[in-house]
């Protein structure tokens, strides 16, 4: 019998949804357990960091790494796992492009700390205490990892071999990736394992000529469930987002927010969407363009909902901090 695949699953700045998505492969999870020894999976297994540090380089075949990098601990574990893994997979939107935690790059550590530890309505902190990375407790020093000033995607910290997109990835996307790994039938390195078209390309809603005369917000209208949401004035990230999610949001009559990341050949999801939206605005002149543009609230937080940390605005490799 061939030796079992050695599989590590880890979460960094994440919500646990990627781990739940792996469970959502349902009975296939038993097949995964049949084909692989899981050597790390904090949500479900009791292996500790010390167990990882004992492993030799290359002893992990595949690491499914979910979550962005927000703390020194997450960076250390990412490096430790990279050093021991033959394949490092950025699993889910946060590992791939920072995901929703990446929206924190609109602010910084100090502002976050001031809000959380001082300003929120229920916080009472007269002594102005802040969590301390080296706190001299009465019994001994207590350590906390450093929170970085910004959020990084996994590939800004270590080399990544493949990407599995989604917030979270669908069970179908996960299963496709796992089959590719188990059978050794792998695409070229750097590939994002999902569709290659855009969500718009495969969306079955009726489309006519796109002309936006007014931007609408989802709570303002009852959207026609058969027609293109963008044509109804709702910002939808479908034109620039990778296909493969099963149209879960648009089928529920809500616009896409781009969790499958940029589609093939799109490098910056947000810039591309801004470009696409600007080109279908039904305007005559600069004045009417400015007036219409002003009715779209929070474009940055919308077009970069899942990819701000990896956007052109923020994309560079982590060097020191």
């Amino acid at each position: 019998m061939a030796p079992k695949l050695q599989l590590a699953i880890y979460w960094a700045a994440a919500c646990g949804g990627c781990d739940v998505a792996i469970l959502d492969t349902d009975e296939k999870i038993l097949d995964i357990a049949e084909a692989a020894d899981i050597v790390l999976w904090p949500i479900a297994m009791d292996f500790k960091y010390e167990d990882i540090y004992k492993m030799e380089p290359g002893s992990i075949d595949v690491c499914l790494f979910n979550g962005a990098i927000r703390t020194s601990e997450q960076e250390e574990i990412a490096k430790a796992l990279r050093a021991r893994s033959k394949f490092m997979i950025a699993f889910g939107a946060c590992a791939a492009w920072g995901g929703i935690p990446g929206l924190a790059n609109l602010t910084n550590r100090e502002e976050i700390f001031n809000t959380v530890y001082q300003e929120t309505a229920t916080t009472i902190n007269e002594e102005d205490i802040r969590p301390d990375t080296n706190y001299p407790g009465p019994e001994g020093e207590l350590h906390l990892p450093r929170i970085y000033d910004r959020v990084w995607s996994l590939d800004q910290v270590v080399n990544v071999d493949y990407y599995v997109p989604g917030c979270p990835p669908t069970p179908e996307t996960i299963w496709t990736a796992i089959l590719a790994i188990v059978t050794g039938n792998l695409p070229p390195k750097g590939t994002t394992i999902a569709g290659i078209k855009s969500l718009c390309d495969t969306c079955e809603r009726e489309k006519t000529e796109k002309k936006i005369t007014q931007f609408k917000r989802p709570f303002e209208i009852i959207a026609d469930p058969k027609k293109c949401l963008l044509e109804q004035g709702l910002i939808c990230c479908g034109p620039v987002t990778r296909d493969g999610c099963g149209h879960r949001c648009t089928n529920n009559n809500m616009p896409c927010r781009g969790c499958y990341g940029p589609s093939e050949k799109v490098s910056d999801q947000g810039a591309k969407l801004l470009n696409a939206i600007a080109s279908i605005m039904d305007v005559k002149d600069e004045k009417s363009a400015q007036e219409l543009a002003a009715t779209w609230e929070d474009p940055a937080g919308t077009v970069y909902r899942f990819s701000l940390a990896k956007s052109l605005i923020y994309d560079y490799k982590k060097g020191g901090e």
Binding site: T107, T115, Y117, T122, T123, I124, R130, R217, G301
Partner: protein, 489 residues
């Protein structure tokens, strides 16, 4: 006190959602001086929600936790109803409650079987290679294992039917829901709900057989190392029965007497949060009792939330089978309030039954397939609080917006934060009771972890905090490459 020379570190703590570390300090005699449960992360949601359109909050804040995304989604949606002063149609509220109960089923099944059961079915001191869900399936048999997988999958399917996605739903809007359900979907939900009621009965029986019939486990549950005496909190209906989706907040004191009742919009009058320098997570406490440190009893402002907190704070369950299980639990444990931390597991199964029965009721409701599911907001948005009972306890979202409905301030006090003070005490007490004279083996360390595991904490949730605005400039060119205009966003 002198600085301890010896420490035992458990890093990371496992079989929970999110990140945590336990640091145990031993004195010269090898006994525990103090144990700390530290949370080593903060993501910052409260800050980065500022500047976002409020209606996006249900889809943003669900990413606080992928294990309880529906809890955040619905708490956020309820806060938006309050922000826009809009009352959703009956069917929208019922669909939300149906979604919510399906969510409770998924979360409680996952916790009981995958996270908690390894300690009881495989054993607290078993090899860590086996002390997991796969070890549980090896013990209980593949057939039972497949039933567990099937029923959790049912709960996920129902959530996806209503919410679009099981993890990170998209259905909630101020004033209602994005999509109705069809009669065909209703029938599927009803049939899955019937099966889930039976499954909840089987789960309660497994608890009786595996845990209650094993004297060693019963002794462990009732031991002082795993007991605590805090206040208890949960949401109740007009009969003081547990409700997860809507109702009045009720808090009982350590003796079981009602301490206070309040509506969601009064939350800030009753809770405050304390900051400690050794953890990124804050400690919520009863404001009118005050912060007294990590101490137990009536003088302390710390509360139990989650399954046992809810059951302690209520007078019973609103459905027949769940209420029977409720009575059985308290008569076995010697009355109310229950003080055994590990009884959280039992309470979770009582709630599993309630969620299944309530889902069945809602799936048979004559209004549930109505297409009247949206009230379009007409008033100027201001401020609102939404509270639900998440699987792990009371979850509060509070937003303040400008007149266009853009978030100015967000405050989120989550379930596992509400229980964080009590959890720290439980870990400290278990460590002191289980580690003596320097003897610390793998089994003892796992048994210290069992103290927090009973709470089913979610430190993904607890490291939230959401901000900011990024100006964008679009430069528009004509086909000859000449700049026509700049559009500022």
């Amino acid at each position: 006190m002198s600085v301890c020379k010896t420490r035992v570190t458990i890093d990371p703590i496992t079989r929970l959602e999110g990140h945590g570390k336990i640091e145990i300090f031993l004195n010269d005699a090898g006994n525990v001086e103090r144990a700390y449960l530290q949370i080593p992360e903060l993501r910052g949601f409260e800050k980065f929600c500022e500047g976002r359109p409020a209606e996006e909050m249900p889809r943003i804040t669900s990413r606080i936790c992928g294990v309880c995304p529906e809890a955040h989604h619905i708490a956020s949606t309820k806060a938006l109803d309050a922000v826009w002063h809009v009352d959703p149609p009956h069917t929208a509220k019922k669909l939300r409650e149906l979604l919510f109960n399906a969510h409770m089923l998924h979360s409680h099944i996952a916790h009981f079987y995958a996270l908690a059961a390894p300690d009881f079915v495989v054993g607290p001191g078993a090899d860590k290679k086996d002390r997991n869900i796969l070890g549980v399936i090896a013990k209980v048999g593949l057939e039972t294992g497949q039933e567990v997988i099937k029923h959790r999958s049912y709960a996920q399917k129902i959530q996806a039917m209503i919410g679009g996605k099981a993890t990170h739903p998209v259905c909630g809007l101020p004033g209602g829901m994005s999509k109705p359900i069809t009669e065909e979907e209703r029938q599927q939900i009803e049939s899955m709900a019937l099966s889930l009621v039976d499954f909840a009965e089987v789960s309660l029986q497994i608890f009786r057989d595996v845990v209650l019939k094993n004297k060693a486990y019963v002794d462990l549950i009732l031991s002082d190392a795993y007991s605590l005496n805090p206040y208890s909190m949960g949401m109740v209906d007009e009969n003081n029965h547990v409700n997860f989706y809507d109702g009045i907040m009720r808090i009982t004191d350590p003796e079981g007497k009602e301490y206070v009742r309040f509506n969601a919009n009064e939350y800030n009058n009753h809770f405050a949060e304390h900051v400690e320098p050794w953890s990124y997570l804050k400690f919520p406490y009863l404001k009118n009792v005050g912060w007294k440190g990590l101490v137990d009893g009536i003088e302390s402002g710390l509360v139990w939330v989650g399954p046992l907190g809810r059951l302690n704070a209520a007078d019973g369950m609103a459905t027949a089978r769940a209420n029977k299980a409720y009575q059985e639990m308290y008569s076995t444990l010697g009355g109310k309030p229950a003080k055994a931390t590990l009884a959280h597991h039992w309470a979770r199964l009582v709630e599993l039954m309630y969620a299944a029965e309530r889902m069945l009721e809602l799936s048979q409701d004559s209004e549930i397939t109505s297409t009247d599911i949206r009230s379009i907001p007409t008033q100027t948005p201001t401020e609102g609080i939404g509270i639900v009972e998440a699987p792990r306890g009371t979850l509060m979202h509070h937003y303040v917006t400008d007149e266009r409905g853009m978030i100015k301030k967000a405050n989120l006090v989550v379930a596992s934060a509400h229980g964080y003070g009590a959890m720290n005490m439980s870990v400290d007490k278990a460590a002191k009771g289980l580690i003596k004279e320097g003897k610390v083996d793998e089994a003892a360390k796992n048994m210290v972890e069992m103290a927090f595991r009973a709470y089913d904490p979610c430190f993904g949730c607890s490291t939230h905090t959401l901000t900011g605005k990024l100006p964008l400039l679009i430069r528009v060119y004509n086909t000859s490459g000449e700049k026509i205009m700049d559009l500022e966003w």
